[in-house]
């Protein structure tokens, strides 16, 4: 009996192995589906022209889109407000007659429970019958490849590397709010430039021991190796072995103090940043911080005093700027009209909707999915009416926008508020450029 069982088990294993050995890997992808058009309502070519369109999610009266966000997330993030931005934008466009005689409809707002947005994406395509997917504001993006395979125009918040394409898989239909390519370890000149501007010479960086954060720390290191000479600044402290959720950074701050650090940056979440700032205050470390991910008004209201004099970077114009670009003013007005609070995620939703409508406009009245994708991918300086520094969509899927040049909007935390700095009237973005080892400043609209 025992031998029989063993034999059956061995046989089962052998069958599985043989079948496995006789097989290879599937390369079949779903056939691309095509369809249609649009614009921002105020500037639509032929806004009233309704040409018959045969595309998923498009009727004579509607263009349906749907999105997915990590509404239920353990971090308490306001990712769901991305839907608000899309709705506010669509309301504005629809109030002006819609696009090509059709109303824009956000038909589905899905919550990617358990980070499982692959399933939700399939739901958007098969149950909700959408023409395009927007917004995508998720912690993970497991549905990316499904959308690539189906060639669906997709717009979202680029925090995951799945948005970026490469030569083999360019992912031309995935559009982040300000480009799709993320390079965590690229030697951007921003931080050395800022050190030069603020007369800081010794830099410390702290990162979690996860791949993305550690690469970010490597990027900081590389940026000082490549651009630090002109700034007379060097990286004197690096720690990229922090446990996620760490609650004690006293030893690290003590070591930074000993090393004379006067400029600190982090590749951590707000939790880690606050822990660091509290410890810096306790140990009286006289340093400012450069915070790439801290444009959060609740955060600055609660912890702003800990970060007095620190710099906050965004790739969009922050709404504290006095001379607001047209696009930003429209966003703020629409959000106010809708009774919704402006947030980074709702702005992302707004930008996604704007790019989608721009794509529709470029595609023309007989639009389809491919035409929308192609329409966007020919734009070389997309700014969303001045909210962004300018995205070159002919290359923004697979490479850094402009090597050696980093443009951003900067504000300084002053009296627990974001105060824009380095911005000039009509030119909110400051660009740091390495010209033959010399860090120079450029201003861009």
């Amino acid at each position: 009996m025992r031998n029989t069982r063993r034999a059956v088990l061995v046989a089962l294993f052998a069958v599985v192995s043989l079948v496995a050995g006789a097989c290879s890997n599937s390369e079949t992808k779903a056939a691309p589906v095509t369809t249609n058009t649009g614009s921002d309502g105020a500037d639509v070519k032929n806004p009233g022209k309704n040409v018959p369109v045969d595309a998923p999610g498009v009727t004579d009266t509607e263009i349906r889109v749907g999105g997915v966000a990590s509404v239920t997330n353990p971090l308490g993030g306001k990712f769901g407000t991305a839907f608000d931005g899309v709705k506010a934008y669509f309301d504005m466009v629809n109030a002006k007659g819609g696009i090509y005689g059709r109303k824009l409809v956000l038909a589905a707002e899905r919550d990617d429970k358990l980070g499982n947005n692959k399933v939700e994406v399939e739901g958007l395509l098969t149950q909700d019958d959408v023409f395009a997917v927007l917004p995508v504001a998720t912690l993970l993006f497991t549905g990316a490849q499904t959308l690539v395979d189906q060639n669906v125009p997709t717009f979202g918040w680029t925090i995951n590397s799945e948005w970026a394409g490469n030569e083999q898989n360019p992912k031309k239909n995935l559009f982040g709010q300000s480009g799709s390519f993320l390079c965590f370890n690229c030697p951007y000149p921003t931080l050395p430039w800022l050190a030069k501007q603020t007369d800081r010479h010794k830099v410390g960086v702290m990162a979690y021991a996860v791949d993305q954060a550690a690469k970010c720390a490597d990027g900081v290191k590389a940026s000082f190796e490549e651009h630090g000479q002109d700034a007379d600044a060097e990286l004197v402290f690096i720690d990229k072995s922090l446990a996620y959720g760490t609650a004690d950074l006293s030893v690290q701050v003590s070591k930074m103090k000993r090393a004379g650090v006067d400029l600190v940056t982090t590749c951590m979440d707000l939790n880690g940043v606050v822990t660091l700032a509290k410890e810096m205050k306790k140990q009286e470390l006289d340093a400012i911080a450069y915070l790439p991910n801290a444009y959060d008004h609740e955060f600055v209201e609660e912890f702003g005093d800990l970060f007095e004099g620190s710099f906050v970077r965004t790739d969009f114009v922050q709404w504290e700027v006095e001379d607001k670009p047209k696009g930003l003013q429209t966003y703020l007005d629409q959000m106010e009209e809708a009774g919704m609070e402006p947030t980074e995620n709702s702005l992302v939703g707004w930008l996604n909707a704007d790019l989608f409508v721009t794509g529709l406009r470029e595609a023309g009245p007989a639009f389809d999915r491919q035409k929308v994708i192609d329409g966007i991918n020919q734009l070389t300086n997309y700014t969303a009416d001045g909210i962004l520094a300018g995205v070159d969509w002919t290359r923004a899927h697979t490479e850094v926008a402009r090597p050696g040049v980093a443009c951003q909007f900067l504000s300084k935390i002053t009296d627990s508020e974001f105060k824009p700095v380095y911005a000039k009237p009509g030119k909110p973005f400051v660009c740091s450029v390495d010209k033959g080892g010399k860090l120079v400043t450029q201003y861009e609209a």
Binding site: R2, L9, L12, S17, V19, A20, C23, N25, S26, E27, T28, K29, T72, P74, L75, G76, D111, K113, L114, G115, N116, K118, V119, E122, G123, L125, T126, L139, L140, T142, E162, A164, A209, V210, D211, Q212, A214, K215, I238, D239, K240, S241, A243, Y244, G245, A247, D248, S250, V251, S254, K255, N271, T275, K281, K282, E284, E298, F299, E302, F303
Partner: protein, 692 residues
């Protein structure tokens, strides 16, 4: 050098105190209730949220807010846990109690989020007369400065440890609490009200959980239940230093862990692979090391009631008592239902539901590993998700870098996971009581914190892609084809699990479970069959992990294999019946389908109001109140509460319901025949009636 060692040691003390406070709370609960209460973290989180709400949102003064959160709400939770849950488990083994606490760990934070909302709760208030902990620093300007939060933690930890040490060393209530854990019935015979003593134990330990929660919350910029659990797990190492019983040794262990962490941060080169590997996983490495090398961890700590012999035996498996015709009928019925379900899935469901169901079937393959490891092998393992991840990463690396066929790569993934399981099992299966669970917990967290982030393991920030299989002319790229493949694999592996369970290994393990000394006396080596079950379980999990990766197109740790997901899977399978293959299958499908069904349910009121704008009054208010975002929380609450039934039905809900159904059917048949109860139905009636 000596100065630096001293400096880092001093800097490690405050965080060591945090570990110590959590660890002392765990040990207190274990000593006074016999429960290794992993839900301690959830209880702490609850009090922290209550304190946040009243102190910050409603701007109560400090003392009333603290009293409500720590002295009222926390002990009240203890009362609820004792009266409605643990009083029925007083004579249950520590494993049953651990499983119940796992269920609570999953359910409580979701209940809290339902009540208080899931929005971010930034800047938790300190247990001090300040707005933020760093508003009060002492001594100002000195080299070592403490903030208000640290001062409060140091003070309350010292008070708690001293008080508890005195309580347990001077007899009285401490002695009675321990006695109730040993045998409530013997205590009752001495004229002591065991019920009241147990209630006092739970109130006291819950009060400590509440205090810990309120003290620890300001360490973080915002409240998140997972942060509390991470700290608790780090504190478990300190508990093991104190052998789960010694309060003072536990306290010292906690402080020692904080100091060790600080010394490593000070002296290891911060840009080195050693630091990246060692520092994030330090508490888990220490815990794992302690469990492997401490002799006491190999000696059973299981508290057994001397009067437990009067308890009736657990009910036998329903399948073993039903007549052969009914067994055959059940099998035919099960196959018919399965085939009908498959046909329904293939031809009726749309792509979305097909994807949901396929996710469940694929997960069921991973869950079969829990049946093998825990159900058949008797080793409670919290690392099955890690084994699945090992299988997924191996599959991904082999298909990406060596262009290997994905099915071959899955088999290789299973073998690698089995090999890791073999190495791990050698020390683990020798551990006694709850220690195997703790050791697998330590391994799972080490994997999550140290190994999974490494790019040569997981591919790094961008998950590695995994293709769908292609067998000869059959392409499994489509979801329907992949469902068929998954069902086939699930069927094959289910048969294999049943054969192991009913074969020599399974029978040896049954004998060992009944009485290890007796089994050894008849020549059964208790180690070998356990090892076989553990290694086979790891292999099945690894294969399942590869299948999950192939279905999703990528090996994504954060989406599919986190420790927390593994915890929920274990709770689900144990609830359904951890010895049963059908429990694993149903659990896998349930895990994905239930949240989607709840999502539809909770979306309905909003959709109804949209299409019926004329609705007003109370109906509108009620319908408005329901949020679609509740679906996942409610699903997890149901999963968690399911584990609470374990004490009543250790055989699992499915087995219990099967037994009940068989009894009913046999009763109807007997009645129809006009006969008295048959031996089988009589036996079932007796067993069910006399069940624990």
């Amino acid at each position: 050098m000596a100065g630096e060692i001293l400096e880092y040691a001093v800097r490690g003390v405050p965080i060591g105190c945090v570990f110590a406070l959590m660890a002392v709370g765990l040990v207190l609960t274990y000593k006074t209730s016999g429960v290794f209460n992993l839900a301690f973290a959830a209880q702490a989180y609850t009090s922290a949220v209550v304190f946040y709400e009243v102190r910050k949102e409603h701007e109560w003064p400090l003392l009333p807010a603290a009293l409500l959160a720590v002295v009222v709400v926390a002990p009240l939770i203890g009362v609820i846990l004792d009266r409605f849950l643990y009083r029925y488990q007083r004579t249950a083994g520590s494993l049953a109690k651990l499983i119940t606490s796992l269920g609570l760990l999953v359910a409580i934070p979701e209940i809290v989020r339902l009540i208080f909302g899931s929005g971010s709760k930034k800047n938790p208030p300190a247990l001090w007369w300040v707005k933020r902990t760093d508003d009060f620093l002492w001594p100002q300007g000195s080299r070592f400065v403490l903030d208000a939060g640290q001062i409060a933690t140091l003070a309350f930890t010292a008070i708690a440890v001293t008080g508890l040490a005195i309580m347990f060393s001077r007899g009285g209530i401490g002695l009675r609490m321990r006695a109730v854990v040993e045998s409530p019935r013997l205590v009752q015979l001495q004229g002591i009200d065991a019920s009241r003593v147990s209630l006092a134990s739970w109130m006291l330990s819950s009060l400590l959980a509440g205090l810990a929660g309120v003290l620890i919350a300001p360490l973080f910029a915002q409240l998140n239940s997972l942060d509390f659990f991470t700290l608790l797990v780090a504190a478990i190492a300190a508990c093991v230093i104190g052998s789960l019983t010694n309060i003072v040794a536990t306290f010292i262990g906690g402080i020692g862990l904080g100091i060790l962490q600080a010394e490593l941060a000070g002296f290891l080169p911060t840009d080195s692979i050693l630091a990246t590997g060692l520092r994030p996983g330090l508490p888990f490495l220490v815990l794992f090391g302690l469990l492997l090398f401490r002799r006491s961890a190999r000696t059973s700590h299981e508290v057994t009631d001397p009067l437990s012999g009067v308890d009736p035996p657990p009910p036998p498996p329903a399948a073993s008592l039903r007549p052969s015709w009914m067994t055959m009928g059940t099998r035919v019925f099960a196959v018919t239902v399965a085939v009908l379900g498959l046909v329904l899935a293939l031809f009726v469901l749309d792509e979305f539901w097909l994807s949901v169901v396929t996710s469940g079937v694929v997960l069921a393959v991973v869950l079969l590993s829990i049946v093998l490891t825990t159900g058949v092998g008797g080793t409670i393992s919290l690392s099955q998700a890690a084994f699945a991840a090992i299988g997924a990463f191996t599959t991904a690396q082999l298909t990406t870098n060596f262009n290997l066929s994905v099915l071959v790569a899955m088999v290789a993934g299973a073998l690698v996971a089995a090999a890791v399981g073999a190495v791990l099992s050698l020390p683990i299966i020798r551990l006694a009581g709850i220690y195997p669970a703790l050791a697998t917990l330590a391994f799972a967290l080490m994997f999550e914190n140290v190994l999974a982030p490494l790019s040569w393991v997981s591919g790094g920030a961008t998950p590695l892609t995994v293709p769908r299989p292609l067998v000869g002319p059959i392409d499994f790229a489509g979801n329907r084809a992949f469902l068929l493949l998954s069902v086939g694999i699930l069927a094959v592996l289910s048969v294999a699990v049943i054969m192991i369970r009913q074969g020599t290994t399974g029978r040896f393990l049954d004998a060992i479970r009944e009485s290890e000394p007796a089994a050894s006396a008849v020549g059964i080596n208790p180690i070998r069959p356990r090892l076989v079950a553990f290694v086979a379980g790891a292999g099945v999990a690894g294969f399942g992990g590869g299948l999950v990766a192939s279905f999703n197109g990528q090996a994504n740790y954060a989406a599919n294999f986190t420790f927390y997901l593994g915890l929920v899977w274990l709770v689900l399978v144990i609830t359904a019946g951890f010895r049963s293959v059908q429990a694993a299958i149903i659990s896998g499908i349930f895990f994905y389908v239930l949240p989607q069904l709840l999502d539809r349910l909770f979306r309905w009121p909003g959709n109804y109001l949209t299409s019926n704008p004329e609705v007003s009054g109370v109906t509108k208010s009620v319908l408005d109140f329901i949020e679609p975002e509740w679906s996942l929380g409610v699903a997890f609450i149901l999963f968690g509460f399911g584990a609470l039934t374990y004490a009543k039905h250790p055989e699992g809900i499915i087995e219990a319901q099967t037994t009940k159904s068989i009894r009913k059917v046999l009763g109807w048949i007997d009645k129809a025949r006009g006969k008295g109860p048959t031996p089988a139905s009589e036996q079932l009636v007796t067993q069910v009636g006399g069940g624990r």
